[in-house]
């Protein structure tokens, strides 16, 4: 029964995503969206948190966004940038007549001021800022970005909705923290009562790009009058709310609640696959500074059992060594031989002996904020101990983890997860400064070649090299792919399942 229901949910999702326009859309209506909590800020430049991106992408827009195949596509820009021969100058044409929520018209000066704010305060902007040497307004509707070296990930960084390169009026660009939430998005902020609701209403001056709907790109229709984001932090309460049908969309439900949701007043929405859990290795200090120890860990871990413990049923995860699933152009199985679904204790023992392991504890830093992290840690502990490791689980709450992981003296492995990011350069492991501090010559060679190439097909080939180095040097261990579960009102249509759900193009049928 559960499998049939799951198949129906997944098929429905496929139908919704491919045939959104098959139903008659009606204007009007208010939807309530239950989120996992109150966002730490409404300034999408200031945070990399997904929750911030999910809400603010309705209020603010970027020059580019992602199409259904996760390729960059224009949003406030009129076209993809023209790139000079040497790859160091990008000329971006802007759409004209775009209005901000305060009815002022967007100009190249606003774009320059916004991008300058982005490279100054946003985590991803700073990353781009390392290679950006100038941002200038060539004329009223053209902006030119000059670089110190070719940097292919720039377009993806400009398209992302967290630590986002949003365009705001130049007059507000000096605000830090942002206090005027004026964007160009299809919905504008009406009222925010923290921990109670964030009320967004239709922006009448909005100009949709038009054309076919294509992922986050293409037409953005404003069928709904209002979207209200309501924080419901307790997962059990979100399950209850989904069963009762109190909200039109309930985000991030525990996958084990699938049957309850199916039996309730809303319909389950499964996003398969959603992302990956990863064990990040501290390559800078301690046991894992020795690559042989990291390789022993890679051999010892049994992802199949870890994922089963974490997600309860094979319906909600898959065992996949590739860093990207086959729905992405980055997918490749090459170089992943070291990933053993059932673990390889004997090889692990041999590698550990070779490393001259002295029995000092391997410290795994984790949290119960995400119960699946903790469950994976428990299974990993058993397999690591079988291979001869002495394991110390440091279970702390999430805020402590985010602080402690920044100190290389405090941990050997920390557990985190991420949705599949459209551009591999956005993964923490690609940066030398992200906790784990992986910085080797082999990495730099592979990553720099990947970042310098602009041709998408060649980049996919170059990512295979990056993946090979990851498996070779084990700066992190990707455990598998897992699915996400949400629930939606049967009368709500036009929502495309996504890691960052959005509600322009959504409408109520009753």
């Amino acid at each position: 029964m559960k499998r049939i229901a799951l198949a129906v949910a997944t098929t429905a999702v496929a139908l919704i995503s491919t045939d959104t326009l098959a139903y008659a859309q009606t204007n009007g209506g208010i939807i309530d969206v239950a989120t996992i909590g109150e966002p730490p800020t409404l300034d999408p430049m200031a945070s990399t948190a997904d929750l911030v991106g999910i809400i603010t992408q309705h209020m603010f827009e970027t020059l580019y966004t992602f199409d259904a195949k996760w390729g960059p596509t224009p949003l406030l820009a009129a076209a993809l940038p023209t790139v000079s021969e040497d790859g160091m100058t990008l000329t971006i044409p802007l759409r004209t007549g775009i209005k901000f929520h305060d009815d002022s018209v967007m100009t190249a000066a606003d774009v320059v001021a916004s991008l300058e704010r982005w490279i100054k305060i946003a985590t991803r902007g700073k990353q781009a800022g390392e290679v950006i040497t100038g941002i200038t307004a060539t004329d009223d509707s053209t902006v030119t970005i000059t670089l110190s070296k070719p940097f292919a990930p720039l377009l993806a960084l400009l398209s992302l909705n967290n630590a986002a390169a949003i365009i705001i009026p130049a007059a507000n660009a000096a605000q830090d923290p942002l206090t005027s939430f004026i964007g160009t998005g299809p919905y504008k902020l009406k009222e925010r009562l923290p921990d109670q609701y964030i009320q967004l209403v239709r922006f009448d001056g909005y100009q949709s790009l038009g054309g076919e709907i294509d992922g986050y790109g293409g037409a953005r229709n404003q069928y709904l009058d209002e979207i209200r984001f309501v924080p419901v932090p307790d997962p059990n309460t979100r399950i209850g709310a989904a069963m009762a049908g109190q909200y039109d969309y309930v985000d991030q439900l525990p996958v084990e609640a699938f049957q309850q949701i199916t039996d309730g007043a809303t319909e389950p929405v499964v996003l398969a696959p959603f992302g990956w859990p990863v064990f990040m290795m501290n390559t800078k200090e301690g046991l894992n500074a020795d690559i042989r120890v990291r390789k022993a860990i890679q051999a010892a871990l049994a992802p199949e059992d870890m994922m089963l413990a974490a997600f309860g049923s094979e319906d909600f995860f898959s065992i996949d060594a590739a860093w990207y699933p086959d729905s992405f152009s980055w997918h490749s199985e090459v170089g992943t031989e070291a990933y053993k679904p059932l673990g390889d204790t004997e090889t692990a023992k041999a590698l550990l002996a070779e490393a001259g392991y002295d029995g000092s504890p391997l410290r795994i830093l984790t949290s119960r904020q995400y119960e699946f992290h903790y469950k994976m840690a428990l299974v990993a502990q058993a397999y690591l101990e079988a291979a001869g490791f002495k394991v110390q689980l440091d279970v702390v709450e999430w805020a402590t983890l985010t602080t402690n992981r920044a100190d290389p003296a405090l941990w050997d492995i920390y557990i985190t997860h991420s949705p599949f990011l459209p551009e591999p350069s956005l993964m923490g492991i690609m940066s030398d400064t992200s906790p784990g501090w992986w910085a080797t010559d082999a990495k730099h060679a592979a990553v720099e070649a990947f970042n310098a190439e602009s041709d998408p097909a060649k980049r996919a080939e170059l990512f295979v090299e990056v993946q090979k180095v990851i498996y070779d040097e084990v700066p992190g261990y990707k455990v598998g792919n897992f699915n996400a579960l949400a629930a939606q009102n049967p009368a709500l249509d036009g929502v495309t399942p996504s890691p960052w759900p959005y509600f322009w193009n959504a409408y109520l049928t009753e």
């Binding site: 730490p40 990399t48 700073k126 009406k190 921990d195 609701y197 602080t403 920044a406």
Partner: protein
């Protein structure tokens, strides 16, 4: 009585000073910091350090403490880092659901506990007494989140009489907001009634055997007058204490219940402030809560003086 009150107030001030200091130190020595939470999972160490500097968290702890104390003395509890508003405004915004939740649950608890406790004591050893004592024990052992979820399943999910969570959307009327408080109030009321019932019963048993009760009966007074006018009035002191402490507990935020029902009250504010390491808000909220506790205790102590003139401090 005035002298007693002054003594009490002096003691209160010392307690508050200790609370301010202890809370300040505890939140600072707890790992985790607001900058990391605000910037999100992919923030770099350099980003976090620069935000810490902007928030003034890079100053030494004694420096931060002095500026905090200076603020309190001027009536400034600081600015919430995440809500971007003064701490007092944030607390004031959350006062309504917590206040009414307290009033409703305390009313429910008292309406159940007083008659049941009195009758249990009066019919000591009877089937009623045994049933009431067992039920009270049972209610006292139920975790509030569990009872809340059970009520939610039945009354909200199955019957659809109430919303599962929240406090009403934009423009919700007073009545709609109060409707959201029914399930949490019943949950808390039932659980709180257990303790008050047990205290009422025990306290009544003490006085029902006293000489003056026998004297009252021998004078031919009606049982109602004997029990309510003579016995209950004298049994009230410990009962008042328990009711007062329950009220203080509820005002300080029925933390778990508010979280389960998604109520934007003081309890859930404290929880989210702790999870986000919003230092000024944690400090301000705990200071207010401790202040309320101390105040309720003070009021109870003063009530003792009125109810029982023999009491001296």
């Amino acid at each position: 009585m005035i002298r007693s009150a002054f003594n009490r107030i002096f003691g209160m001030l010392i307690v508050m000073a200790l609370v301010v200091t202890i809370v300040f130190v505890i939140v600072r020595v707890t790992p985790g910091d607001p900058a990391a939470v605000m910037l999100g999972p992919d923030a770099t160490a350099a980003d976090i350090a620069s935000l810490r500097q902007r928030l003034g968290l890079d100053a030494s702890i004694p420096q931060q403490f002095l500026s905090y104390i200076g603020g309190i003395l001027r009536g400034d509890f600081g600015q919430s880092i995440f809500l971007n508003m003064p701490v007092t405004d944030a607390l004031w915004q959350r006062a309504e659901p917590t206040f009414f939740l307290t009033v409703f649950s305390l009313t429910i608890a008292t309406l159940i506990a007083l008659p049941v406790g009195v009758l249990s004591a009066y019919w000591r050893g009877s089937a009623f007494d045994q049933a009431a004592t067992t039920l009270a024990m049972f209610a006292a052992s139920i975790p509030s989140f569990w009872l809340g979820l059970i009520f939610m399943q039945f009354f909200a999910v199955k019957l659809g009489w109430f919303d599962t969570s929240g406090y009403g959307g934009p423009g919700a009327s007073f009545g709609e907001r109060m409707h959201h408080l029914v399930l949490p109030a019943v949950t808390l009321g039932l659980i709180s009634s257990a303790l008050i019932t047990r205290f009422t019963r025990a306290s009544m048993l003490d006085v029902l055997n006293d000489d003056y009760v026998r004297t009252a009966r021998s004078k031919g007074m009606s049982e109602w007058r004997v029990v309510v006018k003579h016995a209950l009035k004298n049994a009230l002191i410990p009962i008042l204490t328990v009711i007062g402490l329950t009220a203080a507990l509820l005002i300080s935020g029925a933390i778990v219940t508010e979280t389960v029902f998604g109520l934007p009250g003081v309890g859930s504010l404290i929880v989210s402030a702790v999870l986000r390491r919003d230092y000024p808000l944690i400090q301000g909220a705990l200071l207010v809560v401790a202040g309320l506790y101390v105040l309720v205790n003070f009021i109870i102590d003063m009530l003792y003086l009125i109810v029982d003139p023999r009491v001296r401090y």
